[in-house]
């Protein structure tokens, strides 16, 4: 059992997501940085789909009721156990009764706490991921608060204290600002110049960037990027409106400003989505802090598939190394 003493700014139980329900309007939720989430799990002997705690900017304070094996990956929040600093990206043994505390994130926006056995809240539609907008999954469908008690599952027998990863596996969150996108579905609505502006602008991550959408600011009038046309029947009157369509996860919705739709986002609607962030780069974007800037780089579908394949290969190799 994990006892939450302070919830932190926004801490939720997350996993690899709730799949297969997009057609009924249910987004997948799950850890927005799957890279850090999965490596944290592998370090403590869990499979990728075990639930971790996703901690945003400021982590929770929590107490362990039993001995545990934990790992913290992602944004650097300087975790400490009973006041003693502990390593990140490393499996750490915890004694029953010890308290884990975090500082504010200095690089990156989100850290993941994995516990051997996984956070064992009840599954909803085959996932433990929290979807706070409708209050399902995770712990009572909400962010954690003082007094919450989270069950922990049965650890794998051979999970080892001290397991760690090479330094080159650990991202440098401050330096990565290129987000690769496949243009479409509605980029035909942009003028050539509009496309150049979208790809040539340094977009600033707004204060309202969250698990639903990363809102991006710049001194750009979005309507000016679009071809003029007589709006078709069924589309709204704004030039950025189209006849309703499904929104790919990671798509860039042009709703007054570009909004990259994240894992808790609406699944469809009538705004033009002009590009889709390749899946590994959604994790990079999710580590982007408010006021940092990002630039979009256009890649082909083939390049996107190669990027995803090498991401999968890297994680498979780490899983093999850590879980055997």
């Amino acid at each position: 059992m994990l006892r939450i003493k302070e919830g932190g700014l926004s801490t939720t139980v997350q996993d690899t997501g709730r799949f297969g329900n997009y057609h009924i309007g249910m987004p997948p939720s799950g850890a927005v940085d799957q890279y850090a989430h999965r490596i944290a799990n592998f370090l403590v002997g869990n499979e990728a789909d075990a639930a971790t705690l996703e901690m945003t900017y400021s982590g929770p304070t929590l107490e362990f009721e039993e001995d545990a094996l934990i790992a913290v990956c992602g944004a650097d929040m300087s975790p400490s156990l009973d006041g003693e600093a502990v390593s990140t990206w490393t499996a750490i043994g915890v004694d029953a009764g010890q308290s884990l505390e975090f500082q504010f994130a200095t690089e990156g926006a989100r850290a993941y706490l994995a516990v051997a056995g996984g956070v064992d809240v009840e599954q909803v539609m085959e996932s433990r991921a929290t979807y706070t907008l409708i209050g399902i999954g995770g712990y009572e469908g909400r962010t954690l608060e003082a007094g919450d008690e989270l069950p922990v599952g049965e650890p794998a027998a051979d999970a080892q204290e001290g397991a760690t990863v090479d330094d080159d596996v650990v991202p440098d969150y401050g330096s990565e600002d290129t987000i690769r996108v496949v243009m479409g579905l509605c980029d035909y609505r942009l003028t050539d110049e509009g496309r150049d502006v979208l790809l040539g602008t340094q977009w600033k991550i707004s204060d309202e960037a969250d698990r639903v959408g990363y809102r991006l600011d710049a001194d750009v009038d979005i309507q000016d990027l679009f071809e003029e046309r007589e709006q078709p029947f069924g589309a709204g009157t704004d030039p950025t409106n189209v006849v309703d369509l499904g929104y790919p996860i990671g798509s860039i919705q042009m709703a007054g400003q570009p909004i990259v739709l994240m894992r808790d986002a609406v699944t469809g609607g009538g705004y033009a989505t002009v590009g889709t962030v390749v899946s590994p780069d959604r994790g990079t974007l999710a580590q982007g802090r408010s006021h940092e800037t990002v630039t979009f780089e256009s890649v082909s579908v083939d390049e996107a598939l190669t990027i995803r394949e090498s991401w999968n290969d890297q994680l498979d190799a780490l899983r093999e190394e850590l879980l055997g």
């Binding site: 926004s10 200095t106 204060d207 969250d210 802090r289």
Partner: protein
């Protein structure tokens, strides 16, 4: 009297001196405050972080304007410990 204590923003976001646009400010310059009192908020990712003072004292100066953008490490206000 001890030196003024500077309270810094622990995260980037928007600095708010009121709980709600219609409500009074949490504290004015010159107000007495107790350790743990909330004196401002930082809004980020549609969540709000409470800015609290960690000593008893008097708020001497707000260094940033209400609803302005702040970065992690920015000095927000000063408190003279009593």
């Amino acid at each position: 009297m001890a030196d003024n204590v500077i309270i810094e923003a622990p995260m980037p976001g928007v600095f708010y001196r009121r709980p709600d646009p219609e409500e009074p400010v949490f504290a004015e310059e010159g107000d007495d405050v107790d350790a743990g009192d909330k004196v401002a908020l930082i809004g980020v990712m549609k969540s709000f972080h409470d800015v609290t003072v960690d000593t008893d004292g008097v708020v001497t100066e707000f260094l940033v304007d209400n609803e302005s953008e702040v970065e992690a490490g920015d000095a927000l206000l000063t408190v003279a410990p009593s």
